[in-house]
């Protein structure tokens, strides 16, 4: 096995101990399946990120999931109009837990330059966002930086987080139905 970053282990002769949270977090973080929700120029930068020059498959992310059902990470890249908002929310709701959201670029994060009647002023008005990537549009390096921040979150996330009261409260604030009942 190669070097395992951020994984605290107790090593002994013939055995290695860690916690289930960390082992599963490691497995999840290294095979995040992204769903690209690309609507404009940030989507073009995201395509460059997927290309051979920057090559997201280095992070175990070459498998784009063009259905929300098998996706772990929703990458929203581009301007989201108010009319598209319910579609984005439905895509988010269709994703299975655990799920993360990466907001790429100024438009997805805040509406960007479009202070106008037709543009949603940031996707965090309709779905919870884990990591924001600034830029108009951000360079592929910035998108990769955002993705690596997602990886850090995924690695450190407790297996119980999605059942926690805080998480349920968060979804309730966004009026998203909690499908994840506590089965501890």
């Amino acid at each position: 096995m190669g070097k395992i970053e951020d994984l605290v282990t107790i090593n002994g002769e013939g055995y290695q101990l860690t916690t289930l949270d960390k082992a599963i977090g490691l497995a999840r973080a290294n095979s995040v399946w992204p769903l690209p929700f690309a609507t404009s120029c940030c989507g073009i930068e995201f395509m460059a990120t997927m290309g051979s020059m920057y090559d997201m498959s280095r992070f175990g992310m070459e498998r784009m999931s063009f259905t929300p059902r098998q996706a772990d990470l929703l990458i929203v890249a581009g301007t989201i109009s108010k009319k598209l908002g319910p579609v984005l929310k439905q895509v988010y709701e269709q994703m299975a837990e655990p799920k993360w959201v990466l907001s790429v670029g100024a438009c997805a994060s805040s509406g960007g330059i479009f202070d106008t009647y037709s543009v949603l002023q940031g996707i965090d008005r309709i779905i919870p966002v884990d990591v924001y990537v600034p830029g108009c549009p951000p360079r592929p390096e910035q998108i990769i930086d955002g993705v690596m921040n997602i990886h850090k979150l995924v690695k450190k996330e407790s297996l119980r987080r999605r059942y926690s009261e805080e998480y349920k409260h968060l979804l309730k604030e966004y009026k998203i139905e909690v499908t994840n009942e506590n089965n501890d």
Binding site: K82, K83, G85, S110, G111, D115, T116, Y117, S118, V119, Q121, G122
Partner: protein, 166 residues
């Protein structure tokens, strides 16, 4: 066929419906009585000489300062036969911006009238399906009217300092 010929032909038939006319950028503009738009457009389409058989566009304009004539509906017509163009304007009051639909003359007017309704709130009487086309259905105002602010008034996450506005 010159603009003078077109104007003469139209004014011979509808002199009482024409309110004003001028010429901008080589196109004849005629302001018509808003109650007679279907009659005029039907004649323009079917007239054997003019043959304005193609509706290029319908647009709305908001003139907030002209009382009782705040909303203009603009029809742009094209005659393939004569290769000539014509612009008709009908002014409506903002209190009741209602005009007859011309979908029965030009099928292409369907979405154009929906768009004009969507952005300017013009009610097209007898339109088969008058509802918003580009904006979300829940929108409760007409965004291209000048009385509405350009920016989203509900915005709270953007600091003016970061956008060069003080």
């Amino acid at each position: 066929m010159t603009n003078e010929d077109i104007y003469k032909r139209i004014s011979d038939h509808f002199s009482s419906y024409i309110i004003a006319s001028d010429e901008t950028f080589g196109i004849l503009n005629i302001e018509i009585n808003p109650n007679k738009n279907t009659e005029i457009l039907q004649w323009l389409k079917e007239d054997s000489i003019l043959q304005f058989s193609f509706l290029t566009n319908i647009a709305g304009i908001h003139y907030p300062d002209s009382t009782e004539r705040e909303i203009a509906v603009v029809y742009q017509l094209h005659s393939w036969r004569n290769n000539s163009r014509l612009r008709l304007k009908a002014y409506l009051s903002i209190d009741n911006p209602t005009i007859d639909s011309i979908v029965h003359l030009y099928n292409g007017a369907n979405w154009m009238e929906r768009e004009t309704f969507d952005f300017f709130g013009v009610n097209f009487k007898n339109h088969p399906d008058l509802r918003r086309i580009l904006n979300e259905d829940s929108m409760d105002y007409f965004p291209m009217r000048k009385e509405h602010p350009l920016e989203d008034a509900t915005r709270e996450d953007k600091d003016d300092r970061f956008f060069g506005r003080f």
